[in-house]
Structures are given as structure tokens and as C-alpha cells.
Symmetry: D2
Subunit: 432 residues, 4 copies
């Protein structure tokens, strides 16, 4: 087996890091003094970051779009091999995105073993597999126009179940440990379907997929308020997701995508609820202002991202033994170079986690117990206000990544080179 | 025991009905022909309406307000006796609101037996009792400023539990069969409380109330997205409500208030979900455009009210044996005479139910099974479009009510008379 | 010039109408009696409907989709000729959709004169032309990836302006009298563009288009809260649209699409505001539950559609001389046969208008003046509750349309025939 | 005239500052090096902060509440004298809140001159006056139950106009330069009022108030989506506010309250729009998650607050000559000590301003012009990530305030002392 060979030049990264190191060290030590005055050791926080990681979505390496248009980018990847290459660039620079989550049939591959070797040689592993029954694949026997796992026709349901089971089989070959099931089933008109029967059919189909789970695997259920269905969606909210996961069994858990909720909903409380009832499965990180906008993580509401991680840190403290949520970036990169967005987002997510780690939890609990509302809030705010850039960058540097990831990526000339090597993609609306 | 003595003159109602009867009969028969052509017997629909009823909230007889102001109405009731009187007016005219839901300590009474006799003499019964731990009552030992059932202080929780149990005891004396528990517990700041521990404390307190339930009683849990807490609320959505009800036991069920959801949420699907998992407890009917506006039922979105009843009719067909949701009007009458709003709303709710009964369910199911989206929708729309006023009015007339309830009420001179008899109320913000 | 030759068999429509006529007449006369008792002549309402009409969007004849998928329908049209044919079917059956609104470059045609003749022969005229600078057309010199009329690059703005002017030129040849300008310009990230400068550039470009308007033409500005841009949109709301229209001049007016607003916004008040300040340009009718869902008109919130028409009727009464809004259906038909959705929606829109005409405006004004809140509301509600199906159907029948449009369409076998004749379309996300 | 005599002990503040100074200096200098590397002088930023100030709302010194309840705080102020005292505490510690905005008739005073002297002696001045026609004051002749400036009855409108003019007169005596006009006028039912006529009446009344403006005064119009009216509001959005201000004249401008918008609306773009059209009047700072929650500024979405200030800094650069928005805190302190919330919020607002000043605008403009989306965003994000606490605290310290304001306030024992001195307040719903 070939040794790991990351795509970018080590020298480039080293030489850029050399330029940035002195400033980073000054900032890191300054911050260290600040945190020390708060009774917090900066190295301990950095240590926690060193064991934090995220999955990348294979499809996130391509340019996304809306139902109106997609604007292709010269050099974007066109098949899994190229997607893996781009993910390896992200991982080489960021060092916290070592896993790739494939989506089938988009990433359909002839030889799973070869693909696994390819990924390994790039320094990557495979994360949860994703099934797709919200689109009709070419040469698919039956259409998902009117649903998949919840379709009225048993034959369509069987086809959708079979596809999910096939995803599990491929996932086993790739070393995955989970399947993420998101369906678009729902309606656009009142009366279009029985809301009750649709769920019954979903549960029956999902149970068949669940039955095919290998030991140690998770089935991650992903809810979404709307889109592609615009009147009702079968698994529309965390309540539906939770009840489905309860009915399926212990290997079924719930996945939270930050953009899949009704306006104004308190997502961090959903984190706490899912954990409280043993069903917190993981996250699809992104950000949104209006709907499932799939914007870059933390770009719109970084405070919410911090509050989510604050709940995650709390959750881990409450039950450290079985705390193991799956973290993935899931964004649609419509107007940026996807590699840059993945780098920036990985940074934002790590920063939110770092800030959550800075919260003085003993003080917080005491203020909460005493109903000292202002000081409880200030305890969170004080941690949120810290510029954690030096900690995140230092952890990345120590793992061999770039101090300034986007600058390093730009200097590497990766995209222009790929624009010469890779075939062009077409316009047409994008899919995330 | 004194015989039933409704407050308004029978002659007045009769003479007004006499003026309206011919037109009503013409409309009823015309509609009968329309429905007959659709294979539906109008008398059968009317018959269903004759067994439909709603509870009135005692507090809904007073003028409500906002945090900014309340504008008193001359002649509004100031204690339970007067509230019962006004409810009796509503029931005498509408004939589908025979029960009154009391709220404690607002409706605190010395002698439950006397109160029950008073209600009975007015033709009324008592519905679910409501506890209040979202306000501090005069001379209350401990404050609910920082919560009640979920308070960090065990003594406050104990006081709140005790109040709920006292409500159950009074309810038993009044012939009630349920207690509705809505709490305002939540936070206004991130970090103010542990989201996880708050729920734990709520569940522990709620279990103590549950343990005090008499046989045959229900404990109805009412969730609400926000207000009075503006960052997080302990029982904020149907998912939290459902999980709490599951944990408490079979006598605990979930109550849906139409204004307690995030924007855009599909409430009719929540009806289907709660019923599917055996926890559909009942409704607080009202309407809203922005938040928990507590507007008159069906005044803003009558189609949604119809779709809710469509799910209720479906739910009853799926499990007729144990279908028994509690229906109540819960509105804040800020700019109308509360009696008129209750009359108008009872009418709107009955109309929504009548329209749902008109849906051709055999056709609907067939269209749904065949994914004939357009005709499935048209089947609902065709029922919704029917002007059911004649059916609702005829059912009311046959039960002894007024054909035109608001006109009859106005002609009775009730409010001006009460304005002379009752003491004036003060401004100050209103409570619903 | 060839005589008008509608696509469907006259005999088929007549024979189906013959089966439905007796029932329709019974319902029409029954309703006539009801309205007469309210002092309203049913024939007068019908007469108003006879002068009501809507435009169809050429693109609405195809199956739409989301960014996730499009599910093609066998027999859907693939170029303007076929789209016109389908529009002619809708018009032949409904008789209130005589105009077609083309979209360029989608409907780009070599010979405008031939196209106009083709439309005329089908009984159709052309409505407002629509420009498209939210997508890159094949062989387009400069990309709209980063905007069009508001782009930072003057050359891109010039290209977009030029395209709009070309649309006006083609529109003149087609007999249009307006151009609708909707742009996708906006941002996905805070900071991506200067919010102020973007508007400046838009206004400068729009002024150039405005300068090219022929006399008698309108420039209709269409705002939208979000999508395809997900952080900010240059013309995001009616305020921006209004200020732009004011600055451009008297031929510029504002267009309201019912799905382009923030959650909970009172759209009917926007109608009143735009009219009050002389800028009510017209409507894109559809319905929505979450965002710009482009669902069938009145399918989700028929009461809102009624309230919009209530404002329109009020507006016309206030200034009858210059009341001339452009009405168009603008929907995305993802799961239905587009012809059926257009028929059903035309019906729903006409029904909403009919109900608004039934409002007793003298009584309403009197109640409003006297602050009789309940009776003012009841005056609207009473009109809304009327089942106006017989009036709408009778008007349609008298104009030569089908009493039951969808049934007639299905019996005509149009779509199966076209499925044999027309070439298949591909999947790929849909565009509306 | 008596010399300025702030309420708290100078020694206390000094001694606490002495404990905190070394750490502050270390952090300030560390941050100075970071900013220097970015080409930014920390002292220049601090200098800008030294000329920044906010008004306090007199009513914000009391505990607020919801329509459900208010939970009084021992020692809260009960009349303007005590409110001024509390404002003086806030100003003494924070040094950026030197002005107080009074609300009439709540703050009605016999002798304006004495009140002005009292304020001056406390180191305070008066900001914009606020009128109140959304409540009925005791002994008021006509009720605002059905509206005020937009009421159907000319006598009610005249009374409301007269009250506003009286507010202006008092304001003149107090040295104010603006009146803020917010009305609750609107409806709870479709049809309740003519949406068009209501605006006409509002505009006519507002013009009468405008006519009474002294030279140099501003009339600030405050819009709000809903509450206390729940179906429609006369001045509901920035579009309505802008058109009203345009019609009134150059002294009329628009005020933005951060909680008065529909869900998801991009408020920072509204800032840019109002400024672009010359009508940016000022701000009521607070925060919200659901509606007009009136939470502490920046507590829920601090990034949005930063983006608002980013637009303000941009606006000032575009037109420095006439840039003069009125800044005020407007919050409802339901669960905290109001003084602590005002201190914390003043800090958060100053911090948001400081971060906006840190944005490298030359780089930003260049990235925007070149459509370098990622780097434009990073330019904002880089400034937002800075922990500006040391700059804000140093500016405050140099102006004589407390480095740690809340700690100093708590050590002063102010509230417990006032709890002994001031009379108790009652429960009852709160008003903000």
C-alpha cells in the first residue's frame, strides 16, 4: 500500500507558516495570560482541539446552486476521485477534516477496495454513507416523484429500501459506521396524502433498513421542515425524528442540520432534548438566514453555533461514556471556491467549540443555581467574546496544517491547475 | 335544586328565530340538494354537529390586553359568578359551549359545592381546571419570578406542585376530569439556566402532580414556543410535550394551542403525529398571525382550522374507540365584547368541523393511493368551499339556540344592563 | 390570417357541459336567492367576473422542480410553440386566461411576427415580457454569477441592461405593454458586497432600461426577500421596490408575488400601501407555506387571497380611473399536470375576486367608522363564507368554457396525446 | 446651580479600578500589537469610542413584564426622580449613557426647570421625548381603545395630536431635540378598519404634530410589525415609515427598533436603505429571538448588532456631514436588575461599534469590487472575532468609569439601599 501523499507541497506550507509563526506565538501567549487570569490553561484547551474532527461531504467539493441556476467553477471536481483529492487538500491544510462522507448514487464506484486505498493514500477515511431517494437516478426502474420510503406503492418503497441497504453494503467496504437517511417525501397540497399513513409507511420502510444495519453501525435520521416538499414533510421536525428513532431501536439516532428548522426555533435546546432522551446522533453544520440556505458555518449567526457547542460540551459532561455525535460540514458553495469555504467553515466550527470549552462551568452552574441571571449570561458571554483564533491556529499548526489556510491554498495554485486538468461542468441547478 | 334558568329571555330568541327561519330553511334545503348530488346527506352532517361541543374559558369572558395596555369594557365580569353568567349567555345562544374551564387562583372560590350548583342552574358544567404558576398570587410565599415546576429551588417547585394538586382537588369537587398544566418556565438569556436540568426538574415536579391524578382524569400538557420567556421555554414544542407525556404515563396527554408554534409550522401534521403516538389530548382554539396572538378562532386562517378538523375526523376514523380530545376556546378578546367573540368563534369552529365532515373520504383515499394529487386536493377544497352556515345554524336552532346569535345577543341588551349592575374594572395589561 | 382554432374539441366541452348544466343552474339560482336577501344581485357579480382576466406564464406550462430534483412529465412542452398550445387549452376551458407572458431567453424566437400569428390563431395574446439575468444563457459573454443589474463590473451591467432592452423590443413586436424585471442580485455572505452601492448600481442600470420604455409601457419591479441570494437581496421588499419605482418615474410600478415576503407579513396591507402611493403594478399569483414555494394559488391560504382581492376592490373604488393592475399566475407545478394546476388556480383566483365583490361595502364602512369591530369582521366573513363556485362556473360557461374544467381536460386526452407527440424532457432541477 | 454629584462613591470605583488596571493594560497592549500588525492603531479606535454615546430610556430603569405578569424588584424606581438617579448610576459607571429619554405621561412632571436642574446635577441631559397614545391615561377624556392618530373619530385624533404637541413643549423645556412617535394603532381582525384610510388619517395627524416641531428638532417615526395590534399595524414596516417621513418633510426621519421586524428580515440592509434615502433617524437597541422581546442588546445575536454598526460606519463614511443618528437603549428588563442590564448592554453596543471600526475598509472595498467573496467576508469576520473588551474598558476607564461596571455596581450596594428607601411596586403586567 502506498504511503500517504497529500496533494499540496509540504514546503509551501512550511514556508508560509514560518512567516506567520512569530505573530501567532505572540497572540497565543497573550491569550494564555488572559485565560490564566481566569483560571484556565490555554494548552488544555488546545489539547481538546487536537482530538476534535469533522467529516467533509463529498458533494460539498462541487459548486452548488439553487433551483434557478448553478454557476460552474473552472476546475471543480466531476467524480469521486477528484472530490477526494479536493477533500485531501482541505484536510492537509486544516487537519480537522480527515473523513469524507459519500453520497450514493452520486459517488457510485465500481471497486470499493480501490476507492478505500485511494482515500487512504490521500490521508482520508470514509464517514457515514448517504442514500439518495429524493431524485430519480438514470435507469432507475420506479420514480420517486411521489415519494420513496413513504410512497403509497409497496414496489417503490421496496426499491428505496433496497437502495439504502446497498448503501450500507458499500459503506461496510469503505469502513463507514453509519448511514444517514434523509428523504424528501412529503406533499405540496393539503390532502395530497394521508399525513398519518405516510408516517406509518415510512416507519415500516425504515425498519427494514434498520434491520440491515451491521453491528456497531448507526442509522442517522435527518429531519427537515420543508423542501423539496412545500406543504408537509414526513420527517419534518425533531419530534418526528425522535419518535421514529425510538420506534426503530437503539442504533437509530437523530441528526441535526442547522438549517432544517422553523424560523426562530431554539436549536441549542433541541440539542439538549435529543441528548436527554439518548438520541443525539450528530450534526450537519452550515448556517442560514431564511431557510435551508446551506451557507458557510457560522457566517450568519456565529453565536448560535457557539450555543450549540455549549450544549454539546454540557452533554459530554453529563454522559461522557456514550457521547459520540457525528460531526459533518454540509454546505452549498454557490459563490465561493468550495475548498475555501470548507477551510473557513472548519475553522469557524473549531472556534465555536474552543469558545464553548472556555466557559467557566463551575461558575456557570453556581450562578444558575442561584438564579443570578446576569452573571450566568456574562459567564457565557465572556467565553464567547474571546478571540480563539490563536488557539485554533496553534492546534492546526502543531498537527502540521497551515496557520493561514486560505492564503496557503491560494498560493498553492490548486484550482487554476485543476482548471487546466479537469473537464468542465455544466450549468443547471445545483444539489446539496 | 333549582331548575336550569338561562339568563336570556326565551321569547326574544324565539321571536328572532321566527324572523330568520324561512330563509334558513331555504338555504338548508338548497344545500341539501347540492350535497345529495355529492352522495352526502345533510341531515347526517347536522346530526354529527348535534353531538359536538366546546368548553369556554372562564377568563375569556373578560376583556384581555397586551403588555402595553388593557382597555376595560363597561359591564365585563369581575368574579367567577359573573363569568359563569356570561358563559351561560354564550351557551344559551350557541348551544355548543356547555362547559366552563376554570383557572386558579383567578377563579378561587370558597365553596365548590355552591359554585357547582350555580353552574348547573345556569345550564353549565365544569371542564378541565387550569393551574397558574406563571404569576405571583397575592400573599404567595415564594415567587415564580425564576420559574415554578422547573425552578432550581426545591421549595418553589414544591409550592407549585402543591398548587396543582389543590387545583385537582377543587376540580374533583366541580366534576372536572382533567387538569391543564401550562407553565411559563424558561429563560431570557443564553446561559440563564441549564436547558437539560430545567427539563429534569420539570419532569420530576410533573410526576408528582401526575401521581395525584384521580382515576379517569387526564393531565393535559400545553407547550408554547415562547412568551413569557423569550430565549428558551422548558416545554416549547410538541416534541418536548410528547416526551414528557410519554414519561409521565397514560393519563398524560398533549394539548395543542393553535398560536403556540413557530412560524410556518404545519399544525395539522402535529395533530396527526400526536394521535399516531396516542397522546392527542385536546385543543385550545384561537387564531394568530404573528405569535400567540389569541385572536378569534378562524378569523385569520380559517383554512388551517378546517385542515386541523380534517385531521381530527381522520383520527377518529382510525381509532374511534379512544378518540376523545378536549376542545376549548382560548382567546384574548382585546377589542370586542367577549361574548360576541365567543359566539362567533364557536360558530367558526363548528363550521370547520362541518366542512371536514363533508370531505368525501372514500374518494380522497383512492386519489391518495393513486397519487392523483390534483383530485386529492380538489376533494378537500370542494368540501372547504361549501358554505356550511345553514347546517350549523339549523343544528343550533334545533337545539334551542339562536339562528343569528350575535343579533340576538345585541337585542337582549345584556351588556348595557351589566354595565349598570357590575363594578368597573381597571386598565392594566391583560392576561390570557 | 387564419381564424381562431382552439386546441380542444368544442363538442366534447358542450357535451360535458350539458351533463352539468342543470345542477349548475339550480345552485346558481339558490345562491341568487341568498344574495338577493343580502341586497346583492348575482347577475351583477357574474357580470364583473366576465370582465376579469389573468395572464399565464409561458414557463408555467412545464413541470417545475426544486434545487434537488425535477420529475419530468411525459408530454410537457419543450418550446414556445408547445407552451402556447397548452396555454390555449387552459384558455379554452377557463376563459379567463387569454394572455401569455413570455420569458427570455427561454422563449427566444426567431420570428416575432410568426409567433404573434400563432398565438392569435390559438386565441391568445401576449402579456408582459420577462427578462432573465439570474442565469447564464449558453454563449453569453459575461457571467451573472456575481450579479447582473447591480454587478460591480460595468460591462456586466451593460450586458444585462441590453438584454432587458432587447426584451422590450421583442415585446413590442408581440404586442406586450410591460416588462417585468426580477433580478437575483444579492449576497450569500455578510460583507460580500456593499449594500448601499449595490442599490446605487441597480438604480443606474434600471434607469437605462426605463429610458428605453416605449410610450404606454410599464416597467414592473418585482421584489423578493431571498433566493437565489441567501444573505441579502438588492430588491428585497416592497419598500425597496417602491423607492426604486419612485426614482425611476411614472411608468415604473411594483409587482407583488405572494410568496416573496418575510414570514407573517400582512400582504394585503402592502397592496393598500402600494396603491396609496400610486405604485401598484400587479400580481404574480401563487401560494406558499414556507418561502417562495410557488404552490397553486389559494391552495394553502385561500383567505389571504380573498383579503388581497378585498384590498383590490377597495383600491378600484378609491381610484377607478387609473386602476389597472397586471394579474398573472406564477406557479411551479412540481407534482401536478401544469394545465390542471393552471385551471384550478384560475378558478381559485376568480373565486377570491367574486367573494371580494360580495362584501357589503356600505355596511363595512359604517361598521368601521363606528368601530363596531365584530360586525366589520362579520361583514367580510359573511362574504368569504359564500360558496361562489356557481357564479364562477356560470360566468365561464357563458363565455364558452367548461363548467368542470379539469374533468373536461382529462376527458380530452390532451396530455397522453402530447406524450406521444412531444419529445421527452430531462430531469435536472426546475426553474420558475 | 449645584455641581454635578454622581450617586456612587468615587473612591469605590477608583479602588476597584486599581485592582483591575494591570490586567487591562496587559490586554490592551497585547491587542494593540495584534491590531498594529493589521495596520490599525488601537488608540485611534479608542479615540472614536470616546465620542460615542447612547441615551437611556427612563422607563428602562424599572422592571418590565409581559401580558402575563410582572415580577417587581425591591428598590426599583417609582417616579422620574428615582429613575434619573438610577440612570446616573449607569452613566457614572459606563460613561457612554449621558442622556435620558423621557416618556409622557409616565414621566409627567410639574416643573420642567427643576427636573432639568436635577438631571444636570446628576450629570445627565435629556434626549428625545416619547409620547404615549397606546394606553389610556387616568382621567383622559377619550379612549385610545380603537386607535389614536389614526382613529376614525376626529376628536380622538385631535386629543392624540395635542398630547404629542404637549410632549414637544415639555421637551423644549428639557433641552430635547426630538420627539419619537410610536403608536399602537392597528387592527385585530380582517375588515376591522380600512387599511388605506387608516394611513390617510395617520398622515394627517402626523402632519399636525410635524407642524409644531421647533426648528432643529426631529420627528422620529418608529415602525413595528405587530403588537399591540395583531392583524395589521398602521406603521408596520420601514417602507411605511419611510413613505410617511417623506410625506411629512425633512425633519421627519425613521427609527429602527431591532425587534420590530418580521422574522428573518435583514435589518442591516434596512439601515443602508434608510440612509441611502436620507431618512435614517436612529435606533432603539435591544435584541430578540421571537418577536419584540426587548431582550438585552446583543445577548441573542451579537453578530447582527455588529453588522448593523458595520452599516452605520459605512453610512458615516458616505456622508459624514449629515450623519447623526439617535442611539438609545430600549429594553424590557424582566428578570434582571435594570441597572445591570443597562450597563451590560451599553458595553455590548460599544463593543459592536468598536468591532465595526476595526474592519479594514480599503481591503473590503477592493475585495467587493473584485467579487472576491471569501476574502470580503473574511475581512468582516476578522474584525468581528476580535475581543474588543480591552478597548471598550480602557475608553471607559479614561473617561472616569469603572473597568468592571457590574462588579462595581454590586459592591456599591445601590439596590439594597434603595430597597430600604423606595416604596414597593406592584405586580401587574409590564410596559416597555
Amino acid at each position: 500500500m502506498s504511503p500517504t501523499a497529500p496533494p499540496l507541497s509540504r514546503d509551501l506550507i512550511d514556508s508560509l507558516n514560518a512567516q506567520n509563526l512569530a505573530a501567532l506565538q505572540d497572540e497565543y501567549h497573550s491569550l494564555g495570560r488572559v485565560l490564566e487570569r481566569r483560571g484556565c490553561a490555554i494548552d488544555a484547551i488546545k489539547q481538546r482541539l487536537l482530538s476534535f474532527s469533522l467529516a467533509q461531504p463529498s458533494w460539498g467539493t462541487g459548486v452548488g446552486g439553487t433551483r434557478f441556476a448553478r454557476f460552474p467553477l473552472a476546475g471543480e471536481p466531476t467524480h469521486l476521485n477528484e472530490k477526494l483529492e479536493d477533500c485531501a487538500v482541505v484536510q492537509q491544510l486544516s487537519r480537522i477534516t480527515p473523513r469524507v462522507s459519500p453520497h450514493f448514487p452520486w459517488d457510485k464506484i465500481g471497486d470499493a477496495r480501490a476507492m478505500l486505498e485511494r482515500a487512504t493514500s490521500l490521508g482520508l477515511r470514509f464517514d457515514a454513507v448517504n442514500s439518495n431517494t429524493f431524485q430519480d437516478a438514470p435507469r432507475q426502474a420506479l420514480s420517486y416523484r411521489h415519494g420513496s420510503l413513504a410512497h403509497t406503492d409497496a414496489a417503490v418503497r421496496a426499491q428505496a429500501v433496497e437502495h439504502n441497504i446497498e448503501c450500507i453494503r458499500v459503506g461496510e467496504a469503505l469502513g463507514s459506521k453509519a448511514i444517514t437517511v434523509w428523504i424528501g417525501d412529503g406533499t405540496n397540497f393539503p390532502g395530497q396524502q394521508s399525513l398519518a399513513s405516510s408516517l406509518d409507511r415510512y416507519l415500516e420502510s425504515a425498519a427494514q433498513i434498520y434491520a440491515a444495519l451491521p453491528p456497531g453501525w448507526s442509522m442517522l435520521l435527518e429531519h427537515k421542515l420543508y423542501e423539496p416538499a412545500f406543504y408537509s414533510t414526513v420527517i419534518s421536525d425533531w419530534g418526528s425524528s425522535m419518535l421514529a428513532a425510538q420506534q426503530l431501536g437503539p442504533q437509530a439516532r437523530c441528526l441535526i442540520d442547522l438549517g432544517h428548522h422553523a424560523p426562530n426555533v431554539n436549536i441549542e435546546q433541541i440539542v439538549a432534548r435529543l441528548h436527554r432522551f439518548g438520541k443525539l446522533g450528530g450534526f450537519h453544520f452550515n448556517d442560514s438566514k431564511y431557510g435551508d440556505d446551506d451557507l458557510d458555518s457560522g457566517s450568519i449567526n456565529p453565536h448560535q453555533l457557539f450555543l450549540v457547542f455549549n450544549e454539546l460540551v454540557e452533554a459530554e459532561l453529563r454522559s461522557p461514556a456514550d457521547f459520540d455525535p457525528a460531526y459533518m460540514i454540509d454546505q452549498s458553495h454557490n459563490v465561493t471556491d468550495p475548498i475555501e469555504s470548507l477551510l473557513s467553515s472548519a475553522d469557524a466550527i473549531a472556534g465555536a467549540y474552543a469558545r464553548a470549552l472556555l466557559v467557566d462551568r463551575a461558575a456557570l452552574t453556581e450562578y444558575q443555581q442561584g438564579n443570578d441571571v446576569m452573571m450566568a449570561f456574562q459567564t457565557l458571554r465572556r467565553a464567547y467574546n474571546v478571540d480563539v483564533t490563536p488557539i485554533v491556529a496553534m492546534a492546526r499548526y502543531e498537527r502540521g496544517g497551515a496557520i493561514d489556510t486560505i492564503a496557503a491554498y491560494r498560493q498553492s495554485g490548486w484550482r487554476p491547475r485543476k482548471a487546466r486538468e479537469r473537464r468542465a461542468t455544466s450549468a443547471g441547478a445545483g444539489i446539496v
